[in-house]
């Protein structure tokens, strides 16, 4: 078989020829092949540097039970040509090393760190091989995502206990430089994360974030829970993104099972996804202002958000849009279309009035301007996603670049700002609120009749698929491999937070300490989604 019709295919074949094996196009616009371990640097480098295709995902799979090897999967997403390319690399179990891409592709270094941490595959010449999930007290040789890892406490692994072992942090040299440790238990109601500022008083010289405090072993749980439960699990990857994560997971399952979702369900999924974007954006807009001490704005953000989550509860029975999306379709219909449209129109008017007040507060504007600048070049190097990217001149939005649900049929604009400061991120989100209401209105207007749910069969064995969804924070990627007996063999989840976290460290450098909460809030990343 000689597949055709993929934008990268010809150039890749011309460049590497026989080094690509088992070249297939399993789904439209998705190219897949296998390469040898030695070719990783060449092929990935070619894709990234010559074809300018960003790396979307890198994961490992423990295939030892069947084939005695580990596998690495590299996924590249080309947003301009609306196509994906992925390749698989076998890594022998007895020699678990592979060449590191970190020098070429920054974001690859981060995935490689994770692969090392969870599977014990060593990326060679990695510049910063520090542990992520496994905090300092975790045993050296315990790699939780290996199939034979066992669970502490059940006798297979010696139990281990946190005794406050110190972590390694970058030390900044200089007179009077000291470190401010913040977290994991913060002063506000925030998820746990540890930030280590190296400062000269108020001036931040360097910031390191130490995360993975709320690591719950979600990827492992996907492999052990029954399929029905895994959908619920996907909803609990990051509570504020329940629907989008669930959607991404369901779409991957649907691809694996080859199920076509009814059109009405695809429109409803779009509406719910945009509702999720709306309530999160307004909440954060209020809280960005509150973090500058503008308490009234925080109250308004809370008020406008509460109206939306109550609307969610009205529509779906869940304030977080849970138990709505299932493999095959959705469970909840929208009956009174006009009512919803009117409510949202009123809401938008209300929002605009609040926004006008925010924009006339010069202190608030002054606090946002030039604070926490993420320069476009850095945003590109770091492959930042979502509104954080769009505020730094990166024109990317999965809804437009790799459409899913009903986005193909609806018109919307993708706002892009260049400056990359807190204000740019604020403005992107304001604009996205408008676009979301516009999308919902359009979707309500075009809502086709039909069933909500397609029957969902048992999963075929050992099939691989991924799906991408533009959650409110950015692109969510779920990569799924089915196992036997309707079980998941491996599920890799990528929340945009995972790649966006390092951006904060760069954006805050040489800013002042009291501007950190504001900068952090303007990125508003998920700890839970990052930690899994």
């Amino acid at each position: 078989m000689n597949p055709t019709g993929h934008p990268h295919l010809d150039s890749l074949l011309a460049q590497f020829g026989d080094r690509l094996q088992q070249v297939t196009i399993p789904y439209p616009a998705e190219l897949h092949f296998r390469i040898a371990r030695e070719d990783i640097l060449d092929v990935a480098g070619y894709l990234y540097q010559d074809l300018k295709v960003p790396l979307d995902l890198l994961l490992a799979v423990d295939q030892r039970p069947q084939r005695g090897i580990f596998e690495l999967v590299y996924l590249f997403g080309d947003r301009l040509r609306h196509a994906h390319t992925s390749f698989t690399v076998p890594v022998p179990a007895e020699d678990p090393v592979f060449p590191s891409l970190a020098g070429k592709i920054f974001v690859a270094g981060r995935y490689e760190q994770e692969v090392w941490d969870m599977f014990g595959l060593v990326p060679q010449q990695h510049p910063d091989l520090r542990r992520l999930v496994r905090h300092a007290y975790w045993p050296e040789d315990y790699y939780p995502l290996r199939k034979d890892a066992g669970t502490p406490g059940d006798g297979t692994v010696p139990d281990f206990k946190d005794e406050g072992q110190p972590f390694r942090f970058q030390r900044v040299e200089g007179e009077g430089i000291f470190e401010i440790p913040v977290g994991p238990v913060h002063a506000g109601i925030i998820e746990p994360g540890h930030f280590r500022f190296s400062v000269e008083g108020e001036t931040i010289i360097n910031l390191e974030s130490r995360l993975w405090w709320v690591h719950k072993g979600i990827e492992k749980l996907f492999e052990t829970l029954p399929l029905r439960q895994t959908v619920k699990l996907a909803e609990r990857i990051s509570g504020d993104t329940s629907f989008s994560h669930c959607l991404a997971y369901c779409q991957a399952l649907e691809k694996v099972a080859g199920v076509e979702v009814p059109l009405r369900a695809r429109y409803l999924r779009t509406i719910y996804a945009e509702m999720e974007r709306l309530y999160n954006h307004i909440h954060d807009i209020g809280f960005i202002a509150q973090d500058t001490g503008f308490m009234w704005a925080g109250a308004q953000g809370g008020r406008l958000r509460e109206q939306l989550v109550r609307l969610n509860a009205q529509l779906t029975g869940s304030r977080f849009l849970r138990d709505v999306c299932l493999p095959g379709g959705v469970t909840r219909d929208i009956s009174d279309v006009v009512h919803l449209a009117l409510v949202l129109a009123d809401w938008l008017k209300d929002f605009h009035e609040v926004l006008q007040v925010l924009r006339s507060n010069t202190i608030f504007l002054d606090r946002m301007q030039d604070t926490g600048i993420l320069f476009p070049q850095r945003a590109e190097d770091l492959q930042v996603l979502g509104y954080a990217a769009r505020a730094s001149g990166q024109n990317r939005d999965t809804r437009r670049d790799h459409p899913y649900a009903a986005y193909d049929f609806l018109e919307f604009d993708v706002p892009v700002f260049e400056k990359g400061d807190v204000q740019a991120r604020f403005e992107v989100r304001v604009e996205e609120i408008r676009q979301s209401v516009r999308l919902i209105h359009a979707a309500l207007g075009k809502l086709p009749a039909g069933p909500l749910m397609a029957p969902f069969p048992d999963l075929p064995e050992n099939k691989v698929a991924f799906s991408q969804v533009e959650g409110w924070r950015g692109t969510i990627t779920h990569w799924v491999q089915s196992g036997s007996q309707n079980q998941i063999y491996r599920c890799k989840v990528k929340d945009p937070s995972f790649v966006n976290w390092p951006a904060i460290n760069l954006a805050i450098r040489t800013n002042i300490v009291p501007d950190f909460p504001l900068t952090n809030k303007s990125f508003d990343l998920s700890y839970s989604g990052n930690d899994l």
């Binding site: 970190a102 020098g103 920054f106 510049p127 406050g164 746990p192 000269e200 008083g201 010289i205 390092p502």
Partner: protein, 695 residues
């Protein structure tokens, strides 16, 4: 009861005998240190007696008496010593600071004795130290009594040389040598100004005659043309101001004070720089008998600038002693400011206000002597115990040196002019005098006085910040180095010495009303009776200024504070509050244990103010990030520097400094700790001086 002349003779004899005795003992023995301390204390007691005699003397005017007139002691000119109110006050200062410092030095100087495990490693000649120490104190005592040009200049130079020798005592450090040389150069530049000033003061007929006594000078000064008086004033202002540490002649001070052994720093900062003020007051109030308003205005403005400059640099300096030295620049500035205000008021004919301002200045001189010597002694105790003055390596000393910490805290609170300690009363009087200045008719003076007030007010807040830093970073939280961790409490005599000064800080604060009448007497002796209204009235425990303008009762405030504390404690206990206390880790957000690396540093503490005053400090930021390999986002080494610029050093003395370094190299030829070389050097300077002055 005592005959003043006899007391003076005994005093001189004590110090001279002390010098000889100390030199004769073995250089490293305990006896050396004890003798030095005891003779110092004895001399101090004599000075105190002399001061009390002078202050109590119920004579009209300045109450001056010629104590001693010695012909033929020196080959070229007679020596003459006179006691009057101003001298008495400064004698009091010398005694009050000198006695505890001498006590302190007994235990402190053991630092310089060689350790048994490292024979000879740190050995310094303590005998030599004792000689210079006795002469230093004696010369300070005599300089305020000196009443002829020659006597004064001779002792002034002797004081400078003795202190120079003490500054370079730790001659093995290169820094010390450079500091000493800088000091020597600056002090001689000042000396030249003074010398010319005195020559011009003698009047056209008698130019160059150094045997003139001060009383003759007073008369000749009256006859001087006003331009010449102005020139004399300016020269004296520069000469004495450089000794007082006023900008831009302060540069020696932050170098010399940290370099000197701590008792010497305490004496230099507590007393010696005040003698610059003494000289200025002696000239302007006494010998010249006042001048035009701009004299005072100039002193006031330069004083205000010094105060601001000093405290701003104290704030960003992290060497404990250098911080204190910069703070001395600041305090000298405040004293100059108040003295300047007094002269302005006086020239405007308002002796009431002039008295008030001068009393403020004098009281601040005494207060600063007490708390600054206390702080230097505290810093010395820290140095002795930890072998470092770098605040970034200190911390946690309050648990290891509880007494030293308490005394240092008292000093810090006093210097920050917080009630109920002595600094507050001085500050209050100075503020009152400036606030009352609306009584003056002149518009021009108001601008000066308002600016002076602004400078003083700004200084007040910054001092508090600087001393929260000095005490908080050095003594609180966790130790930042192993030395600080292993620190132990200062020896007994050092604790006693600091304790005396700490108690004095409190007493001078609470019982100010007992001392203020004496200061008022001094001021009136030179300024004349209060006119047109009352400047300062002391009745019982209360101080009043102006006509119903302000009043203060420090003792009552102290009593109220104690009473309210008792009531509050009693009330809370009565209300049955929970008095359980549980010790726990410092809250560090859950996971990590706090380490010294996570404590606020001195640099960090001062960082906001450093950023705010960046237009002045002009800090030079340098951030370097080294990254391995191709990706710029993996950092390997990060380093950061952000030092401030020293304006005067860099732009005014920059070229001079290079010469100084060059000289320092040369000077190191004579600085090998050899007594004979030093004596030869001192003698040759004296001979040059005498030849110059022989008219």
């Amino acid at each position: 009861m005592f005959d003043a002349t006899l007391v003076l003779i005994v005093l001189v004899a004590i110090h001279l005998a002390g010098a000889v005795a100390v030199y004769l003992t073995r250089q490293e023995s305990l006896l050396t240190r004890q003798l030095n301390g005891i003779f110092g204390i004895a001399g101090g007691v004599m000075a105190l007696i002399l001061a009390l005699i002078g202050l109590q003397r119920n004579l009209p005017g300045s109450g001056s008496t010629v104590l001693l007139s010695l012909e033929g002691v020196m080959p070229f000119a007679p020596l003459e010593f006179t006691l009057d109110r101003l001298s008495s006050f400064f004698l009091l200062l010398i005694a009050v600071v000198g006695i505890p410092v001498s006590l302190y030095s007994i235990d402190y100087m053991r630092e310089y004795v060689s350790h048994p495990d490292q024979p000879g490693a740190h050995a310094y000649n303590l005998g030599l130290f004792g000689v210079a120490y006795q002469i230093f104190i004696l010369s300070m005592i005599l300089v305020v009594l000196a009443s002829t040009t020659f006597t004064f200049l001779f002792l002034w130079e002797l004081m400078a040389l003795a202190s120079y020798f003490l500054v370079v005592f730790e001659h093995r450090h290169r820094d010390t040598q450079e500091a000493g040389t800088l000091y020597l150069i600056m002090t001689h530049l000042g000396f030249v100004a003074l010398f010319i000033g005195f020559m011009l003061l003698s009047g056209p007929a008698l130019v160059g005659n150094t045997t003139l006594s001060f009383s003759e000078l007073r008369i000749s000064a009256l006859a001087l043309p006003s331009t010449q008086r102005d020139i004399v004033f300016l020269l004296m202002f520069i000469g004495f101001g450089s000794k007082a540490g006023m900008i831009p002649f302060h540069v020696w001070l932050p170098q010399a004070h940290p370099a000197a052994p701590s008792p010497v720093s305490a004496l230099m900062s507590g007393v010696m720089i005040k003698l610059g003020i003494y000289g200025l007051l002696r000239i302007t109030l006494d010998l010249l008998g006042g001048g035009p308003g701009w004299w005072g205005g100039l002193i006031l403005v330069v004083g205000g600038a010094s105060a601001l400059y000093g405290i701003l640099y104290a704030l960003v300096d992290h060497n404990l002693k250098r911080l204190l030295a910069y703070s001395s620049v600041e305090n000298a500035g405040i004293i100059l400011l108040a003295s300047g205000a007094a002269l302005v008021f006086w020239s405007a004919g308002n002796t009431a206000l002039a008295t008030l301002a001068l009393v403020g200045a004098l009281y601040h001189i005494l207060n600063h002597g007490v708390f600054k010597s206390l702080l230097f002694m505290g810093a010395g105790a820290v140095l002795q115990s930890t072998h470092t003055l770098d605040m970034e390596s200190l911390g946690g000393l309050i648990k290891r040196m509880p007494w030293t910490a308490l005394f240092f805290l008292v000093g810090s609170v006093s210097i920050a002019a917080l009630p109920p300690f002595n600094g507050f009363v001085g500050e209050w009087i100075i503020l009152q005098s400036l606030l009352l200045s609306l009584a003056l008719p002149s518009q021009g003076a108001h601008i000066f006085l308002t600016l002076g007030l602004g400078a003083l007010a700004l200084t007040g807040g910054l001092v508090a910040a600087a001393f929260v830093k000095a005490f908080g970073i050095s003594f609180l939280a966790l130790p930042r180095s192993a030395q600080a961790d292993q620190a132990t409490e200062a020896p007994r005599l050092m604790r006693w010495a600091m304790g005396i000064n700490a108690v004095l800080c409190l007493l001078l604060g609470l019982l100010a009303t007992l001392l203020l009448p004496a200061l008022q007497g001094i001021s009136r002796a030179y300024l004349g009776p209060d006119q047109p209204t009352v400047g300062l009235a002391i009745s019982g425990l209360e101080v009043r200024t102006g006509t119903d303008f302000g009043s203060l009762s420090p003792l009552l405030l102290g009593i109220l504070l104690a009473l309210l504390a008792l009531i509050a404690l009693w009330g809370l206990r009565l209300a049955g509050i929970n008095e359980l206390t549980r010790r726990s880790m410092t809250w560090a957000c859950g996971r990590f244990t706090l380490s010294p690396r996570m404590e606020y540093t001195a640099t960090a503490f001062a960082n906001p103010l450093k950023r705010i005053f960046a237009f002045l400090y002009q800090p030079v930021r340098a951030l370097t990030i080294e990254t391995p390999g191709a990706s710029p986002h993996f950092a390997q080494d990060i380093s950061y520097r952000n030092p401030v610029r020293l304006w005067f050093e860099e732009y005014l003395y920059g070229p001079v400094a290079r010469g100084i370094v060059w000289l320092a190299r040369r000077a190191s030829l004579v600085q090998h700790g050899s007594l004979h070389l030093y004596l030869t050097y001192i003698l040759s300077i004296l001979v040059i001086l005498l030849v110059l002055t022989r008219g």
